[in-house]
Subunit: 427 residues, 2 copies
């Protein structure tokens, strides 16, 4: 008989992909759906996941343990958001208003918009200020069911400011319930002061930033914005190879604005992921499938930018590429913390099925962060990261769109968020 600290009983449905990970050429694991499901948790881990009728024969509650009745609710793995630019300062609402009014990219850049405006704001902010803003964002993520996220630097673009962003991420990681996977993105843009000497900035990234970030263990991944307006394939390769030598695993922003060989580079490097992919080429898709690179799609950005070009989710799935979904949380092109609207956009604008979207936002996202053995699915032995949703079946997460169904969130076996019921608040 197993002893549980926490038991969730009689969920209307439990839906989970089954892992450990998508294999090469297999885009999605089967999404398992169990009706009248229960879950037993001991410490940080799942002890039992299955039909309620099997719970009693396998698990008993420790004295002092908690039993939660989740009848009528749906259980899902906590969302894993594998692409965020979490620690930023400032707002780019005025840039957004200009875009709605039909201003061009050049007009916006001319008026001081774009990535570099956020770089100025981040450089000017001190560490506590950056931390407070990011903390509020993590709270919102948690309220919407996210239990793990990736977080990138990339708005510092100088040794000191990049380290400042990564230190904010580490402090938050130590204190906030949402688990954070840190990524160094020094190669996000060429900073103003290096405009005329881009090779000098790349040298600084390779020879100064990467060794320092690695030495202080401030990141697990190294990312590059590989794009016509940012870093060339050759520059990205040099930076990501340097990262690899220092133990930082590669991932990259690829083929977002043009088809530039980013996906092919990701495959060549054995990157954990290639992200965006609005303009990925046919050979790029094949190369990613062969190399087992996860495609991290960010439909919120295409939507927010009112772009006609959307990542070819169906072609990726059909080619056997594992597809993950992310918010791309950032102040310029997708200022949202919430994963559910991203799943809705994946289904309605990219043609993904609800099952595919759920797997993409959990197990496949965890896989792209190298954590699919631990998180991303509800299976005995894995970490107990669970969202309890006030819906009768998982499909309502997309069907009943636009509102928040999260009722509580469990991270590493602890109930870290419980929504106050509105009906308890009314007179």
């Amino acid at each position: 008989m197993l002893e549980a600290d926490l038991i969730l009983e009689h969920a209307a449905e439990l839906a989970t992909p089954v892992g450990p990970a998508p294999r090469r050429g297999q885009a999605f694991g089967e999404l398992v759906r169990i009706t009248d499901a229960s879950v037993g948790i001991a410490g940080e881990k799942l002890l039992f996941v299955g039909p309620s009728q099997d719970l009693g024969t396998k698990v008993r509650l420790k004295s002092g343990g908690r039993r939660m009745d989740v009848s009528g609710k749906t259980l899902l793995p906590g969302f894993v958001d594998p692409h965020t630019h979490l620690p930023f300062a400032g707002s780019r609402a005025s840039e957004f208003k200009m875009r709605l009014a039909g201003k061009t990219y050049e007009e916006i850049a001319h008026s001081g918009g774009g990535i570099l405006s956020t770089v100025e704001a981040v450089r000017a902010a001190d560490l506590p200020e950056l931390g407070r803003a990011a903390w509020t964002r993590l709270d919102r993520m948690m309220e919407w069911g996210t239990t793990t996220c990736e977080a990138k630097s990339g708005y510092g673009l100088s040794l000191e400011s990049e380290l400042k962003q990564l230190r904010v991420i580490r402090e938050l990681s130590d204190s906030h319930p949402v688990e954070i996977v840190p990524t160094f993105l020094g190669a996000h843009a060429i900073p103003k002061e290096h405009r005329a000497r881009r090779s000098e900035y790349i040298r600084e990234v390779v020879e100064e930033m990467i060794p320092r970030v690695a030495a202080e263990r401030l990141a697990e991944f190294c990312d590059v914005f590989c794009e016509s307006v940012a870093f060339t394939v050759a520059e990205a390769e040099r930076i990501l190879e340097a990262g690899k030598r220092h133990g930082l695993k590669p991932r990259l922003h690829a083929d977002q604005i043009s088809s530039g060989g980013g996906a092919e580079l990701a495959a060549r490097l054995g990157a954990a992921s290639a992200d965006h992919l609005e303009f990925i080429s046919g050979p790029g898709i094949e190369a990613m499938a062969r190399a087992g690179v996860t495609a991290v799609l960010v439909p919120g950005a295409s939507f927010f930018l009112r772009s006609e070009h959307r990542p070819p989710a169906r072609r990726l799935v059909e080619a056997g590429v594992a597809v993950a979904l992310a918010t791309d949380l950032n102040p310029g092109t997708c200022p949202t913390e919430a994963m559910p609207p991203i799943l809705v956009l994946a289904c309605l604008t990219l043609g993904m099925s609800i099952e595919e979207a759920i797997t993409a936002a959990t197990l496949n996202a965890a896989h792209s962060l190298g954590r699919s053995e631990v998180i991303g699915s509800l299976e005995a032995g894995k970490q107990a990261d669970i969202q309890v949703l006030d819906i009768p079946e998982a499909a309502h997460l997309v069907y009943h769109f636009g509102v928040n169904h999260v009722e509580s969130v469990i991270k590493k076996g602890v109930v870290v968020y419980e929504r106050t019921r509105l009906d308890a608040m009314l007179p």
Copy 2:
């Protein structure tokens, strides 16, 4: 000196259209934005709305009154949602899944989907069951800033079941903080049992339902689904004229699937609104502008149906038609209660500006419900229906999309909803 029961002080921004109402040929009133704004409320009404520096010279707090510090927040009028099918039963998630999987309209209808499946569920539900489901929806509306909504019958399609829906609306209206404007939509579809005898059903609507609904004062408006797959222009005219004779003001579902003269009919009848308008004709736009009919657009439905055809918001605005925005809350084509995502879709998929979207979701929506003298804007003398948003300026409501910024809601001068702060809940 005016005496207030409730004072909201030092909002970062207060944004409101100024009305009483859009005039013919004037699509949008100016959206007024006041920084460091305060509001004084006495009883159900706004006493003072203006710069904080003017508050003290004009208003003082009654003893026992409440003072709320809203510094850093934004104040907007509560949303007015002018098109919902609130009292329904059942789910159409399986129909949605079929659509995502590429099934055709015929295949879905064949498998029992469509309006008539909801009619079956509503007929089978008793009044308390319908009431509980709708109550939960009203709670969600309120959580997302809506303080007034329209609610239609139309899933009964028999005298008894239509009355049941309208009675649910009346009961909710008497008990829930969200104010409800009732609409009779007996002519939503031809019920199965009248398939072969449609004129008999129309006779029943005209001769039995409308007189009874009017006698029991169960509706203010009469609506018809004027469309190739529903009721012809001639049928709609007959029904809406009958409604008018009994004091029910006309509004209608027009030009949703095809350009069928619905907008022109709305203009001819002097309807309060014509709703949907995805396929409105050029002459239809001109007729609506001349007649002062409000266009109620429902971008959530086009989005949810993955339709390429979107209502021509810009052409309507440019022609001088007052444009309002609504959720179209219903289980088949737009199952959401929340207005903010509708404003986001209006800006990103219809090309409306943030200012236009806010006016459309407040004053113009109130106008379409005949209530623009009372609600829809924050002006002294009007009803105190206010949402307090945790954003530094109104633009963030659209810019910072996908999450809920509502911190509290005031209806008729009473704080009816206050969000529990997450940071107060963490250990």
